[in-house]
């Protein structure tokens, strides 16, 4: 884990093969799409802004009780560079943190990119898009930063839980309290920074191309919040359907009409347990990659038509 509470950089070896393979496969086309929407001429600007985020993470804010917090920066980048460019900058930061600072793993890079550069950025952009103008804008800045951190952390916890790491209700509750505290600190720091940036040069902020809508902003923010908090707590409990089946004593009546080719994340071939799991992971990776590449191509063709 990074030394920074709340920014959970998942290391290699924590996630199970199907989870890291699926998230790697999901992150690759998403980064490709974000790169396609980012102009190469902007690369020096994005690189220096990435360096700014590193520097900002070295500047501590007093958080009370002798502790301090610092900016994580995902929401700030989304609001100043736009979601596509922010995704690219955060991906570059994550690559550098993985390689140079041992903060996160290479196989888990897809998961970290998915959590922070995709979920984190879009969870910030959605409330900002609708609340960025008018008298609610400070609340919009806070909501963007708060939800960005909370959604990223919740996604990381879910991935760890799905990978088989046992977490009980107490652990999930303590983690949720830490994440919410970090998210509040991130929100307050972001509001302080954004207010000053506005005074210095409002042109540095991305202006959403939609009309501000307080109702839509609140609805979008609430949806992201519900998703992050709800899924975090649900992940601590057993699967709802399985639990219901067990309670009703229906397990013995289970009839299998169709045997999935990779049930229980194992390829049905001869060989050891490792080779079956590895092959299932690779097959899943290939299928998701082909699906994403196909959908991406269709989208590009539809747009150019």
């Amino acid at each position: 884990m990074s030394g920074r509470i709340g920014s959970v950089h998942i290391a290699d070896g924590i996630l199970s093969a199907p989870v890291w393979a699926a998230l790697d496969a999901a992150a690759i086309p998403a980064i490709g799409l974000a790169a396609r929407r980012t102009r190469v001429e902007h690369a020096p600007l994005l690189g220096v802004m990435g360096a700014f985020v590193f520097a900002a993470q070295r500047m501590n804010f007093p958080a009370g009780l002798g502790t301090s917090g610092h900016l994580l920066g995902g929401a700030l980048l989304a609001m100043t560079l736009g979601p596509g460019a922010a995704t690219i900058v955060l991906t570059a930061i994550l690559v550098l943190q993985t390689l140079v600072f041992q903060d996160g793993g290479i196989l888990a890079l897809g998961a970290n990119v998915f959590n922070m550069a995709l979920i984190g950025v879009w969870a910030a952009w959605i409330p900002y898009r609708f609340l960025a103008q008018g008298k609610w804008k400070n609340f919009g800045y806070f909501a963007a930063a708060f939800l960005s951190v909370l959604a990223s952390a919740a996604a990381a916890m879910i991935e760890v839980r799905v990978s088989g790491v046992a977490l009980n209700g107490a652990v999930v509750s303590i983690s949720a309290a830490v994440f919410v505290t970090t998210a509040i600190i991130e929100g307050l720091i972001t509001v302080a920074v954004m207010q000053t940036i506005e005074k210095m040069n409002p042109g540095w902020l991305q202006t959403p191309d939609t009309r501000p809508s307080r109702a839509m902003g609140l609805l979008a923010g609430a949806a992201v919040l519900l998703m992050a908090v709800g899924v975090l707590f649900i992940s601590g409990a057993p699967d709802g359907l399985e639990s219901l089946v067990a309670q009703l004593g229906l397990e013995s009546r289970e009839v299998v009409h169709f045997q999935a080719p990779m049930a229980e994340y194992e390829a049905r071939i001869a060989g050891g347990d490792w080779s079956r799991k590895a092959l299932a992971g690779l097959a899943g990776l290939g299928m998701i990659y082909i699906l994403c590449a196909g959908v991406g191509r269709l989208l590009v063709r539809h747009r150019s038509a």
Partner: protein
């Protein structure tokens, strides 16, 4: 300079990836395979002359994350098997990344990533980020020192937040201005959208041999 440092970054990246996949798919409780993979990593550190104890120490930076999840998992499930697997898998993976980084320059790794299909804009951002990282971080630390020197730490918490927020916003503005200057200077010197490689690498048979031998060792260690 050890023999691995002279090899192409792409060969080392591919070999490291095979090792990481072997470690990442090692099931909990298979200590024999974990030991075999640890031996493979140590052999490569010795071949690279990367300094065994230095590498072991550097890789230990990763330990707090798997240790926390491992201890939680042990506490909740009362079974230490998964806890050991999390720690060993994470540590072995970190060890190989330390070896990769101690035998390869960042510039070579970025070029390797590009030849593996990473988007050009991402590679350019990585190159700019590493080039200006120290400059911007130093500037931020200087500003923090100046702020503390002028007003101390004893003022009200609200003003401390405002001051820190203001300092970050000013750093943001300075970084933005620096980026625009850098971009203009690059255009003035004929920047065509790519950084020029001073030492272009070409894959040799030794690079292919390195990948093949390293991959065979990793898969051989894992196939038990």
């Amino acid at each position: 300079m050890g023999p691995l440092a002279r090899r192409d970054a792409r060969a080392k990246l591919a070999a490291a990836l095979v090792f990481l996949v072997c470690v990442g798919t090692t099931p909990a409780g298979n200590y024999q395979r974990m030991a075999a993979l640890a031996v493979v990593a140590i052999v490569w550190i010795a071949i690279a002359r990367a300094g065994l104890f230095r590498s072991l120490f550097k890789a230990s930076a990763i330990l707090p994350f798997p240790l926390s999840f491992g201890l939680i998992s042990w506490w909740v499930s009362a079974d230490p098997t998964l806890a050991v697997a999390l720690v060993v898998r994470s540590y072995l993976s970190a060890l190989v990344v330390v070896l990769l980084m101690s035998t390869t320059t960042l510039a070579d790794i970025f070029r390797g990533l590009q030849s593996f299909g990473a988007p050009a804009v991402l590679v350019l951002v990585l190159q700019s980020l590493t080039r200006y990282l120290q400059v911007v971080v130093d500037q931020g630390l200087r500003m923090r020192r100046a702020s503390i020197s002028r007003s101390g730490n004893a003022s009200r918490r609200h003003s401390l937040w405002q001051r820190a927020g203001g300092a970050l916003a000013v750093l943001f503005g300075k970084s933005y201005g620096r980026a625009e200057n850098v971009h203009r200077a690059m255009l003035a010197r004929g920047f065509q959208g790519t950084f020029i490689a001073l030492r272009p690498h070409a894959l040799e048979w030794r690079d292919f041999a390195l990948t093949a031998v390293a991959a065979a060792m990793s898969v051989g260690a894992a196939w038990r």
